[in-house]
């Protein structure tokens, strides 16, 4: 685990209240990508509340980046990334459920026709 030395730093920053974090450029990129992916599978802010959350946090992260509040930016961006990933996963699950419903409808229709034919 590489986070052990981080604990001390975190404790210190928490006490001192000053942020010495580096700019989370890679995290910002990942978050942007996750948002794009969620949108690409058809998630919309109207239908998926997690996407709305993600976009809000991503905007906040961008603002934090501009203010050089890198720790806040990282927190917002990390949460936004997972919000977006959850939005994507929810859309895909919904689609698989719809596919299942279509199949069930077809099967019911086939069964009915078979019932009629016999």
């Amino acid at each position: 685990m590489t986070i052990r030395p981080l604990f001390a730093a975190l404790a210190v920053t928490a006490l001192a209240g000053c942020a010495a974090d580096p700019a989370p450029n890679e995290q910002m990129r990942l978050t942007g990508q996750a948002l794009e992916q969620a949108t690409a599978v058809g998630a919309t802010v109207e239908d998926v509340p997690e996407l709305k959350l993600a976009e809000g946090k991503y905007s906040q992260a961008k603002a934090d980046m501009a203010d050089q509040s890198f720790k806040d930016a990282r927190v917002q961006a990390e949460q936004a990334e997972l919000d977006a990933r959850l939005a994507e996963a929810k859309v895909l699950t919904l689609k698989s459920q719809e596919q299942l419903n279509v199949l069930n409808t077809r099967i019911a229709r086939l069964r009915k026709q078979l019932g009629d034919a016999q």
Partner: protein, 267 residues
């Protein structure tokens, strides 16, 4: 699977420290509960092990941070991430389970579709049987030559080979019957009464049979399935002495083969 359980078990957190504040305690507890649920779900473990591990790692981090004073916000953050990973794992596994269900249903659908096709085919065959009964009742007799249908003299004018339009219904029924029984073939036999010369009658009888054959072909019956014969005034069904008898002898007979296409021998 066993190994994975062990790893995840190692990530299990027993104690929740109270020093990180009320809010982060609640967040930590919720994350812990969510993680427990996905960790104990064998489907989620099978389908989305990575997300479950990440949920455990984030939770472990939140738990460790909770022992530090003033780390409430960080605890809440990692607890949040952990909860998200648990939920993502649950969604992924739900999706894959749906896909697995769909694959099974697709097989079921194909099976039913096949069954339905067979049932339809059966009903067409039954319809064919029904039509066969109709045709039999229409004007056929089961003879030693097979199923024979007689088109009477009313369908031809005296000395003419042209089929009258009143024959249409009957001919259409024959076409339909042959379409439903694609292996059956027919022999169309023409007959005349004894009026006129032998040679002339033979030609006239053949022309009459051919007229019926032509119409069948026009309606889509393959010519390979139609044999044409002209027997002239041979094989009368009645004595030629009376007009009524002669009328009955002026006829075209359609001999149907059996279902396999076996036609009785020609006369």
């Amino acid at each position: 699977m066993k190994l994975k359980n062990g790893v995840l078990g190692g990530l299990l957190l027993a104690s929740l420290y109270g020093c990180a504040g009320q809010h982060s305690d609640v967040a930590l507890q919720q994350a812990y509960n969510d993680f427990q649920k996905v960790k104990e779900d064998s489907n989620v473990l099978r389908i989305a092990p990575k997300d479950v591990i990440r949920a455990g790692e984030s939770l472990a981090r939140a738990d460790r941070l909770s022992s530090y004073w003033g780390s409430g916000a960080d605890v809440q953050h990692y607890a949040y991430l952990s909860q998200r990973y648990s939920e993502i794992a649950r969604q992924h596994s739900e999706k894959v389970l749906n896909e697995e269900r769909a694959a099974k249903l697709e097989l079921e659908r194909q099976r039913l579709q096949l069954a339905l096709r067979e049932a339809k085919l059966l009903s067409v065959q039954q319809q064919g049987k029904w039509l066969e009964e109709q045709i039999i009742s229409l004007a056929t007799t089961q003879t030693d030559r097979g199923l024979v249908m007689t088109l009477g003299d009313v369908l031809f004018d005296t000395g003419e080979a042209e089929l009258k339009s009143s024959a249409n219904r009957t001919v259409l029924k024959i076409v339909q019957f042959l379409q439903l029984n694609p292996k059956r073939v027919v022999r169309i036999e023409g007959y005349t009464d004894s009026t006129g010369g032998k040679q002339e009658n033979r030609k006239l009888s053949r022309d009459r049979a051919q007229a019926v054959a032509d119409m069948l072909m026009d309606l889509g019956v393959d010519d390979k399935r139609i044999h044409v014969e002209g027997y002239g005034d041979e094989y009368p069904v009645e004595a030629n002495a009376s007009e009524r008898g002669r009328a009955q002898n002026r006829r075209v007979e359609i001999v149907f083969s059996d279902e396999k296409g076996q036609l009785g021998a020609a006369r």
